[in-house]
């Protein structure tokens, strides 16, 4: 069991950045054209123990991720982002367009969960975003409870990934008792298949 624990811990810290205290923390990229909203979301995330990078547009977001075509990063030394939270209505590239661009990537970027934030409760908009693979759709103004819930879900997703990886490694080491938590089939929160809606994505009830 000690071996499994060690392997598991290694995987978790591989996927998450480490805060100065050594505890793993999510790195969130927030995108919003409103100065006031950028200030608020940054604070919400920081107070929820997340590392935050805030940008003002979809274009800037893609640049930050190294996906802007001009300077396409090979992913080797690209920035590690665990979650993208983007406003829907932005001039130039909308949040929806940013979501599509990210989901079109045939690389590790496609796996980054993307959450859309909007001040408008439009069901067709929500459906469209979820169908395009958005992790969740939050109504603005975003609350601390929204951010905490999101963080917990993403962290759990990362933990499951870690357990799955450690389970695979365990098999090769040939340890017989399986970790009970890893027996269920794992689905990444950002699985774009339309039939799969994570419990988090059923926003209609929450609105």
């Amino acid at each position: 069991m000690a071996i499994a624990g060690e392997v598991f811990r290694q995987n978790l810290t591989e996927m998450l950045e480490e805060s100065p205290s050594g505890a793993p923390e999510l790195h969130v990229l927030a995108v919003d054209d409103s100065l006031v909203d950028r200030k608020v979301i940054e604070r919400l995330l920081k107070i929820s123990s997340c590392k935050v990078t805030v940008v003002e547009s979809g274009t800037r977001a893609l640049q930050y991720l190294g996906l802007d075509g001009e300077n396409r990063s090979l992913g080797f030394d690209s920035v590690k982002v665990n979650l993208i939270m983007t406003d829907y209505s932005m001039p130039g590239m909308t949040g929806y367009e940013l979501l599509k661009k990210i989901k079109q990537e045939s690389s590790v970027f496609r796996e980054i969960p993307v959450v859309i934030m909007s001040s408008e409760n439009v069901l067709t908009r929500i459906d469209r975003c979820l169908e395009e693979g958005a992790e969740d759709f939050l109504l603005k103004p975003v609350k601390l409870s929204d951010v905490r819930r999101l963080r917990d879900v993403i962290m759990k997703g990362k933990v499951k990934e870690g357990e799955k990886k450690s389970h695979k490694r365990m098999r090769s080491i040939d340890c017989s008792p399986p970790l009970s938590a890893t027996c269920s089939p794992m689905s990444l929160p950002c699985d774009p298949s339309p039939s799969l809606l994570s419990p988090l994505s059923s926003k209609k009830a929450r609105l």
Partner: protein, 152 residues
């Protein structure tokens, strides 16, 4: 004539309660106050200041747009949408509500309605700004006198 800390604190509570009661502020403002702590002791003042700057430029833009002939309702609506968003984010409920009405007039391409809404917006913004500045001043006086801001 200086007031002691307890009096200042009471004044602060009363003033804030009144702003909520009159619908000038809503729960979102309380949410913002929760985000202020030792690591970010001036968070509310900082956001509010940003909002004031944002407001003034948006109100100016809307006024200029409404002077144009013919009026570009799409552009005006874009400003109103933005203002609605930022006012909602800080809990400026009355400003937000007027913005919603403003958007409806934009959609209906009702120039007179838009002009009236802009006037109302300017009034609500003034009211909000004066009240918030007073609130902030009370907070600063309390802090200067060594007191703590009462949590509500």
């Amino acid at each position: 004539m200086t007031m002691d800390v307890a009096q200042l604190q009471r004044k602060l509570c009363e003033h804030q309660a009144a702003m909520f009661q009159q619908g000038i502020l809503d729960d979102q403002f309380t949410q913002l106050q929760k985000l202020q702590d030792e690591s970010s002791p001036d968070f509310v003042i900082e956001v509010v200041t940003m909002f004031f700057d944002d407001s003034e430029s948006l109100l100016n833009n809307m006024a200029r747009c409404l002077e144009q002939v013919p009026a570009d309702f799409k552009q005006i609506d874009a400003h109103a949408h933005q203002y609605k968003g930022s006012s909602a984010s800080i809990g400026a409920a009355r400003v937000k509500n007027v913005c919603a009405t403003f958007r409806a007039f934009c959609e209906a391409k009702n120039l007179e309605g838009c002009v009236r809404c802009l006037q109302q917006l300017q009034q609500e913004y003034s009211l909000l700004k004066n009240n918030l500045q007073y609130l902030i001043r009370l907070q600063q006086e309390i802090k200067a006198a060594g007191g703590s801001i009462p949590t509500q």
